[in-house]
Each structure stands twice: as structure tokens, then as C-alpha cells.
């Protein structure tokens, strides 16, 4: 590696954070380099130090952080020894940053047009904050509307995807050489994520900017990165070209990480075993940090430090056993479908339910006219983008939000609109599990007390009997009885979510409402909870309403799938039917937006024509965004409900045969992954 060719070089970087009375090392001896125009992906679970590395590329300094050794060189200048003034000249101009959360990154009080020119003003690229030419130029670059009306909007008037485009536009304003992106699509919907990724791929072709892309999503990275660096516990454990990482992962951690990605296409494909255990930074061995979770660990691994060793052209791995180890195959996943679903009784039926926020006549229609049934013991998935009404439906079922019209029946009995008017029995049978495990447990109550509440309330159980039940409930979610005495802040996110599930199970419910319960968790933790949910389903026969935007997870778990858009049911049916043609156009676009390893987006997708669903208007809610739109009929007439084979139903003007002809699944261009 000669320094002259490299745009950026990170050498033996170690960074410490102040913790308690000492310093803990967040990044330990990390080295890598970037060529001009290259996209380098940095991946790892939360807490592995990837964001710390990204911030170092911007010369970020803080009182509670110190650079222990190593340096970062940008065009042969050491960023680590620059003065504040020198850094300010470079940052925003030559090196730009795209943050994770565009909502908080944009100033809510400044109009978009003015905000866009801030970077250029700071670096003297324009003289005037309202320089129309400059604004239109960068708006065009990122595919945003250029009309003055748009420029006069405030950030809150934009969708999440548009906000992120504005952030990217601000970063690109001075035509930088390097773009540092920290999880830029994590908070966004799959379809929006797809658009941002294809925008970024397009930009690198057009303006040749190099990127450092930090994310926890390996599948996503495969669509954009040239090379990928895998980090674990502050160390770089493997660096390889993207294809190589997926086809021949060398480090056991990389293998486990790839195996933890839920696969949407083929369920029968042989796979490696997902990661087990957790990263516990306080209990790391002196040798390889991954040794406690590794299937191949020997005594030598625990004792001796593994250095990153170059094994091939542009490949390096920090595992001395890389030649001999092969992935441990996973146990075959049990079939998700139960088979005789039709014969089962419905535990819950939702009958023409609409939920309206505000006055009935002109309020916001969050859900309109949804009908479905959930049978005993089945997993019913609700799928859709944010704002599609998934959570609103769950809230209506639980009684938190009263529906405007329609009825919800539990085992044939009509439920009252609000939870206060339902009986204890009805409340017990429906249990809600929330997305964010940090907020769903009382921080001042021990785990045992949290699980005891439903026992006391519903079964009047106390003392030894309750304690036995609590231990049972913890056992159900594969946690040890000793957890009873702990407080939530002593648990990891995955463990907290298990406790929340245990608390729901303690009530002996008939239906669990799982509202995006995996989305706040790391991939490896997600894979473990997913396994747990499967086991619970077969052990307890509890029905679940599983809300998710992650189609791959839905495909692995659900028996029935319902696709929502703009509060309306677009498609409903058994899993095999929904994930096979004929597709509803919206289902098809969702499926195509899911990042699949090694499959780059075929062509830059068209900019969305309309981003908002057409709620409460004549015609189809999806009209305006639909890629297969028939014509004006879509905007004037409500599409008919079409019934297909095996209980499939969908709402579209196209007939099932026409839909069948439009799309095949899985797409022919995709190849299997040799893991």
C-alpha cells in the first residue's frame, strides 16, 4: 500500500472513553484505508466501535474521549494532529458527514433552501444564503423537487426519506472527496431505504465521491460497498471485498453475522448457525475478543491476541484458525405453517374496522375498513411502511384507541371499544408487547416484580406460588431464575425484550400483539428472539399478531400475512400465497426493496411520484405511487377485491392473471449464497 494512492489511511487507531474512574478502550488498533472513489463499509453489532471510528475520520474530539495511539491520514495529512481551525476548513468541505437521524440533524427553524446553503456559505462557496442557482443544483443532484415552494418548506414538512436526501445534499454541497455515513437509512422504511441506496450508488458513479458507510446491516452493505470491514469489540476482525465476504467469510464472527441475516427467498437453504451469546465488554479475554462466543475457540484463542493478517489480495482476517474452520450448520428450521389452519376457530376477528383521529367526518383516516381473522395458535403478520396503520390496528385491538366504525370480536364475543370497559378476562387474553424494551419495563421495579404484576392482578397469586410461576415464565423465555432480583438497567436489550415477553406470557394470553418487537435489536439478538418466538408458538399454541416492516422475518415466522398501505388492506392470505405471484403491486415493491446479499439494485429506481397515500379520496390509495398503474381508472374508482387460490385476496384493478404476468418470484437474476 503506497500512501500516495490512498485517499484516507487509518493506522493502528485506538480510542478510549472515560468510564467510571478509568478509561475503557472502544476502538483497539484498527487499521484500514480508502482509495479515491471507493465505498468502504464498516459493519458490526451495536457497541463494536464502528461509529467511534467514523467520528475519528472527522477529527471529532471530546473531553470524555481520548486518542490513545495511531493516526488518521487524509491525503497524507494527519487529521489527528490538526488544530481546530485546520479541521474546520476540511470538514464539510473535503470530508462530509451524513448523520443517522435526519429529523434531529436538520434545524427545525430554518427553511430547506437556506439550510442547504449553510455548508457552502461556511466554506465561501456562495456569497448569498439564497443563491438560487446553487440550491437548484444540489436539489437536482439528490433528486428533490426544485420548485421555490419546496425550498420554502421547513424540515418537518418533509418525509423521512426527503429529509435524509436534504442531509445528503448538504454533505455534497462542497463536492467533498469523502462522505462519512453513519447508519443513514436505519430509521427509514425499506422502500425509502432502497431509494437512498440507489441514490448513493448513482452519486458515486456521477461524482466519484469516496464513502465510508457505517451500518449494522450487512445485507444492505453488500448493495453498495466495494470492501467491507467487520468490527467486533473495538477490533477489526476481517476486511475483504464485498463478494468475498459473502461467498467465503473467513472469520467465525463474520460467518455468524451472515447467518443471522433473515433470508427472504429460500427457507430450505442450508445455512450456518446464527450468532449465539452477547458481546460483554467487561468480560473479554486477553486474546481474541470473540472467543467466548466462538464455536471454534481453543485455549490459544483465549490467551493470545490475534492480529489482522493479510491472507490474500486485499483480504485480511484476525483469526489464526481461518484455514481450517468451516461454518457450523444450523439445525433445520421447523416449518412455520401448521397445515390445518382452516379447521381452527378464530381467536380474534376484525370486522370492517376504521380508526379515525380527530373528527369522524374530516379527521385523519389511520385505518379504513380493515377485516381479517386470526385463528387459534397462528402467527398473523401485519406488514407495511411506517404510517400504514399497523400499530393503530394493534392499538384498536388492545383497546387503547377506539375504532370509529366496525367491530372487534374475541372468541366470538364483541369487545368494548376501550380497555376500561372490557372485562378482566378479555384484558388477560390479549397481551401487548412493545417495540422498545427500554421503555416497556419500569426502571424502578425488579424483574420479578414486573412479572408478578399480571399474576397478582389476574390470578390473585402471591407468595411461593407466584414465585414458582415467575421462574416458569422466565424459563419460557430461556432466562435463568436469578434474573428476578435484577433491575432492567442491568439487562441487555435482548434480555429486556425477553422479560417483556415473559410478562405477557405470565397472563396466559390467547393472543400476543407483537408491535415491531425485533426492530430495536441487533441482528444476532433478533435471530435469537425469532427462534424463541417459534418455540413459544409450538409450545404454547398462542396466536400472535406480528407487526413488522421486515419481510424476511415475516416470511420466517408468519402463517398468514396482511399487507397494509395507507390504512387499507392491500393483500391478505396464507404466507405461501402472499410471497408467491400473483403479487399486489405494493407487495411486489416491498419485496423488491428488501436488500438481498450480493444483489445490487438492477437500475436506479424511479424517483417516487407521490409519497403520500391518497387517503379518503376516490380510487385506489396506492395510485400515484404504483409502478403498474393501469390508467385514470385507478384514480377514480375503488379497485375490486379479488379472491385467488388458497385464500389469497387482494385489491387491484389488474386481474390476477395480469398480475401473474407482471412479476416472477424469486427474480431470475439472483444466485444462491454459498454459506
Amino acid at each position: 500500500m503506497t500512501g500516495a494512492q490512498q485517499l484516507l489511511e487509518v493506522r493502528n487507531l485506538s480510542v478510549g472513553y472515560r468510564q467510571g474512574g478509568g478509561w475503557s478502550r472502544a476502538v483497539d488498533d484498527v487499521s484500514f484505508s480508502l482509495r479515491p472513489g471507493e465505498v468502504f463499509g464498516l459493519v458490526g453489532e451495536s457497541g463494536c466501535g464502528k461509529s467511534t471510528v467514523a467520528l475519528q475520520l472527522l477529527g471529532f474530539r471530546h473531553v470524555s474521549m481520548r486518542l490513545e495511539h495511531g493516526d488518521v491520514r487524509f491525503k497524507s495529512q494527519a487529521l489527528t494532529s490538526m488544530s481546530r481551525r485546520e479541521l474546520d476548513e476540511l470538514r464539510g468541505d473535503r470530508i462530509a458527514f451524513v448523520p443517522q437521524n435526519p429529523t434531529t440533524a436538520l434545524n427545525p427553524g430554518i427553511r430547506i433552501g437556506r439550510q442547504l446553503t449553510e455548508t457552502m456559505l461556511a466554506h465561501g462557496r456562495v456569497k448569498n444564503a439564497e443563491d438560487a442557482g446553487a440550491i437548484v443544483g444540489i436539489l437536482k443532484l439528490v433528486g428533490l423537487p426544485v420548485d421555490p415552494g419546496f425550498q420554502r418548506r421547513y424540515p418537518h414538512q418533509l418525509s423521512g426519506g426527503q429529509q435524509q436526501r436534504v442531509c445528503i445534499a448538504m454533505a455534497l454541497a462542497c463536492d467533498p472527496d469523502l462522505l462519512v455515513l453513519d447508519e443513514p437509512t436505519t430509521g427509514l422504511d425499506v422502500t425509502t431505504q432502497e431509494q437512498i441506496i440507489s441514490l448513493l450508488s448513482e452519486l458515486r458513479v456521477r461524482i466519484g465521491v469516496a464513502m465510508l458507510y457505517v451500518t449494522h446491516d450487512l445485507a444492505l452493505l453488500s448493495q453498495i460497498a466495494d470492501r467491507i470491514g467487520v468490527m467486533y469489540a473495538g477490533r477489526m476482525v476481517e476486511i475483504a471485498p464485498t463478494d468475498e465476504i459473502f461467498l467465503r467469510p473467513r472469520h467465525p464472527y463474520t460467518q455468524g453475522l451472515i447467518a443471522s441475516i433473515p433470508v427472504i427467498e429460500d427457507l430450505s437453504m442450508s445455512r450456518a448457525r446464527p450468532l449465539r451469546g452477547l458481546l460483554r465488554r467487561r468480560e473479554l479475554p486477553p486474546g481474541c475478543p470473540f472467543a467466548p462466543r466462538c464455536d471454534h475457540a481453543l485455549e490459544q484463542c483465549v490467551a493470545e491476541r490475534q492480529e489482522l493478517e493479510t491472507i490474500d489480495d486485499a483480504r485480511a482476517v484476525a483469526c489464526w484458525r481461518w484455514r481450517e474452520i468451516a461454518p457450523v450448520p444450523a439445525e433445520p428450521a421447523p416449518p412455520a405453517g401448521v397445515g390445518t389452519l382452516a379447521a381452527r376457530a378464530a381467536v380474534l376477528s376484525v370486522d370492517h374496522v376504521s380508526v379515525i383521529y380527530g373528527p369522524k367526518s374530516r379527521g385523519f383516516r389511520a385505518v379504513s375498513d380493515a377485516s381479517f381473522e386470526i385463528k387459534e395458535g397462528e402467527v398473523f403478520a401485519l406488514v407495511g411502511e411506517s404510517g400504514s396503520g399497523k400499530s393503530t390496528l394493534a392499538r384498536a385491538i388492545s383497546g387503547l384507541t377506539a375504532p370509529a366504525t366496525g367491530a372487534i370480536m374475541l372468541r366470538g364475543e364483541k369487545l368494548a371499544d376501550t380497555v376500561r370497559h372490557r372485562s378482566d378476562q378479555q384484558r388477560r387474553l390479549i397481551q401487548y408487547i412493545f417495540q422498545n424494551p427500554d421503555a416497556s419495563l419500569n426502571p424502578r421495579a425488579r424483574i420479578g416484580e414486573a412479572i408478578a404484576r399480571p399474576l397478582v392482578h389476574f390470578f390473585k397469586m402471591e407468595g411461593a406460588a407466584a414465585r414458582a410461576k415467575i421462574a416458569d415464565a422466565l424459563g419460557d423465555v430461556r432466562l435463568d431464575g436469578s434474573y428476578q432480583e435484577r433491575f432492567p438497567d442491568q439487562l441487555s436489550g435482548g434480555e429486556r425484550q425477553r422479560v417483556a415477553i415473559a410478562r405477557a406470557l405470565a397472563a396466559k394470553p390467547a393472543l400476543l400483539l407483537c408491535d415491531e418487537i425485533l426492530s430495536a435489536l441487533d441482528v444476532s439478538v433478533q435471530a435469537n428472539i425469532l427462534t424463541l418466538l417459534r418455540q413459544l408458538k409450538s409450545e404454547h399454541g398462542i396466536a400472535m399478531l406480528f407487526i413488522s416492516h421486515d419481510l424476511a422475518v415475516v416470511r420466517m415466522l408468519a402463517d398468514h400475512v396482511c399487507v397494509l398501505y395507507g390504512g387499507e388492506v392491500m393483500e391478505i392470505g396464507p404466507r405461501e400465497q402472499v410471497f408467491a405471484p400473483p403479487f399486489h403491486p405494493y407487495t411486489h415493491s416491498l419485496l423488491h426493496a428488501v436488500p438481498v446479499p450480493l444483489q445490487r439494485p438492477d437500475k436506479p429506481s424511479k424517483a417516487p411520484k407521490a409519497t403520500e397515500p391518497r387517503r379518503g379520496e376516490a380510487g385506489c390509495v396506492y395510485a400515484g405511487r404504483c409502478p403498474w398503474q393501469v390508467g385514470s381508472i385507478c384514480e377514480t374508482e375503488r379497485p375490486p377485491w379479488r379472491e385467488g387460490e388458497g385464500g389469497l385476496g387482494l385489491r387491484c384493478h389488474l386481474t390476477l392473471d395480469q398480475l401473474n404476468a407482471r412479476a416472477a418470484w424469486p427474480p431470475t437474476t439472483r444466485e444462491g449464497i454459498a454459506v
Binding site: 387503547l400 380497555v419 390479549i430 412493545f434 416497556s440
Partner: protein, 296 residues
């Protein structure tokens, strides 16, 4: 991850010394002043040179001397002994008054913030009306409406202190409850059909303790002044109780002849209030720190 230890583990006494040095200075000074007051309040009645209503301890109005540091009032009573005897009365009245105010305010405020709706609306308007009346005027109205047969009753003084503080504490508790009520664990309890009382006790109160403790400390710091003011105006305890405000009032005519008979109880009151305020300010800072850390 190895954390470099700044210092090797030492003996317990050393660790306490480190902890003590980390506390804010105001906390340390306040604590010392308070401890002196507490010791005097508890042990004073046993070592005070004279009884609180003992007459003929010396020549009336003879001023400061080594045997009578705060002088002698016109009835021949030793003012220093009276201050010492009155110490526990003042402390007990102010602390119990604040505690009752805290309890009532916390319960009302938490329930009001959690329930919302008409209950919240009605209660808030009522509390706003109470807060809008200057506290001394409010206290006088309450005492006057209690009737003459109850005047001078220590329980009435305690209740008046509680009445003055409860609305102010309730507003803080309500704000805390509204914040906590949006979190999912409260929604879970609601979905379980728990009563508002149970939600308040189990879910809201434990998470509002930090805020409420700070509030208690700040209010308690001012309570002796309120009790003293009532005494001074003649609406507090009855003579010959050695309550400090009452003593200042009784001796105020002598302020030109023997100013120390007024200054003595005044100094005692001032040092208690300053001590309490320093202590609570420091406590608020310590709690604020841990409360903030606990939220993350």
C-alpha cells in the same frame, strides 16, 4: 475491556473520604449546620441552663453576659434557654408540615397528571387559585376560618404549612407524571386494567422520587420562616411556648434596650434556614446528577 483503575482499592474510611470530597461544598456546609441544629433540638432540653418558662433567672433586660448569652427578657426568662428549648418545636413543625404537604401534593399531582381529563382540569384550576394567593395571606385565611378555639394548636400550624405547600408540589408532581405516563410500562399497566391508584403507587411514584425529594428539600428549607412568620403575627403557637417567631414578636418592643433578645432567636432561625437551603441545594445537585444518569 480492561478499565484502568485510577487508584488501587483502599480502606473503607478512605473511600468515604473520597465520596465526601466529591459532594458539593454547599452540601457539606449545610449538613454541618443542620447537624448542629439537630443535636441541639434533640439534646437541648437536657442541658439547657434554665427551663423555657422559668422566671427570675437574672435581672430582666440586663443584656448579654457569659451566663445569659442571648440576654434576659422582661419576665426574667433566659432567652438562650428558650431558644434551645424551642429548637425541636420549630424543626418538627416545619418538617411535618412539609411532609404532609408533599404527601398530599404528590398524590394529587400524580393522579391528576396520569388521569387527565375533567379531573385534571378541575384540580388544576383549584390549585392555580390557591397558588395565586400570597402564602401568608392564604395561611391567615385558613387560620381565621378554623375558628378561635383551634388557634394556637400546633396541629393547625402543621396543616397550614401543608396547605401552603401542597398545591406547589402538586404542580411539579403532575408534570413528572405526565412525562412518565407516556412510557410503555404505564401503558402495559393500563392494558392490564390496573386502577389509577395502583398505577400511581407502583409505576409513577417510584420513578418520580428524585423530583419529589428535591422538591421536599427546597420547601423544607423555607418552612421555618413560614412557621416563624405565623408566630410573629400571633397566629401560630401561644405563649409561653418558646417558638422562635413568637419570641421575636414578644421581644420586639425591647429591640432598642436589649437587641440581643430579638437577634438571638432571629440568628437561630436564620442559621437553620441557611443551613437547610445549602443542604437542599447540594442534595438537589447530587440527586439531579444521579437522576439524570438513571434515565439514560
Amino acid at each position: 475491556m480492561a478499565i484502568e483503575q485510577v487508584s488501587a482499592p483502599k480502606q473503607t474510611s478512605f473511600r468515604y473520604r473520597v465520596l465526601w470530597r466529591q459532594t458539593p461544598q454547599s452540601f457539606r456546609i449545610g449538613l454541618i449546620v443542620l447537624l448542629v441544629h439537630l443535636i441541639v433540638a434533640i439534646t437541648g432540653p437536657f442541658w439547657a441552663p434554665y427551663g423555657f418558662s422559668q422566671m427570675g433567672t437574672g435581672i430582666p433586660l440586663s443584656g448579654m453576659s457569659w451566663t445569659h448569652p442571648f440576654g434576659i427578657d422582661q419576665l426574667g426568662r433566659d432567652v438562650f434557654s428558650r431558644v434551645v428549648h424551642g429548637s425541636h418545636i420549630v424543626i418538627l413543625l416545619s418538617l411535618s408540615g412539609t411532609a404532609i404537604g408533599l404527601l398530599a401534593g404528590a398524590v394529587l399531582g400524580l393522579l391528576s397528571g396520569y388521569l387527565g381529563g375533567w379531573f385534571d382540569n378541575l384540580l388544576q384550576r383549584l390549585l392555580e387559585a390557591l397558588i395565586s394567593i400570597p402564602f401568608l395571606v392564604l395561611a391567615l385565611i385558613a387560620i381565621a376560618s378554623a375558628g378561635p378555639e383551634l388557634s394556637g394548636n400546633p396541629i393547625l400550624v402543621v396543616l397550614v404549612v401543608a396547605l401552603v405547600y401542597a398545591p406547589r408540589i402538586a404542580r411539579i408532581a403532575r408534570a413528572a407524571a405526565m412525562d412518565i405516563a407516556t412510557r410503555d410500562f404505564v401503558t402495559v399497566a393500563r392494558l392490564r386494567g390496573e386502577s389509577a391508584w395502583s398505577v400511581m403507587r407502583r409505576e409513577l411514584l417510584p420513578n418520580a422520587t428524585g423530583v419529589l425529594l428535591v422538591e421536599f428539600a427546597l420547601r423544607a428549607g423555607y418552612a421555618p420562616v413560614l412557621v416563624g412568620s405565623l408566630g410573629f403575627l400571633g397566629f401560630g403557637l401561644r405563649p409561653p411556648t418558646p417558638e422562635w417567631g413568637l419570641m421575636i414578636s414578644e421581644n420586639r418592643a425591647l429591640i432598642i434596650i436589649t437587641p440581643i433578645t430579638v437577634l438571638g432567636p432571629g440568628l437561630a432561625l436564620a442559621s437553620l434556614v441557611v443551613g437547610l437551603n445549602l443542604f437542599t441545594e447540594g442534595l438537589a445537585r447530587i440527586l439531579g446528577r444521579t437522576v439524570r444518569l438513571g434515565n439514560q
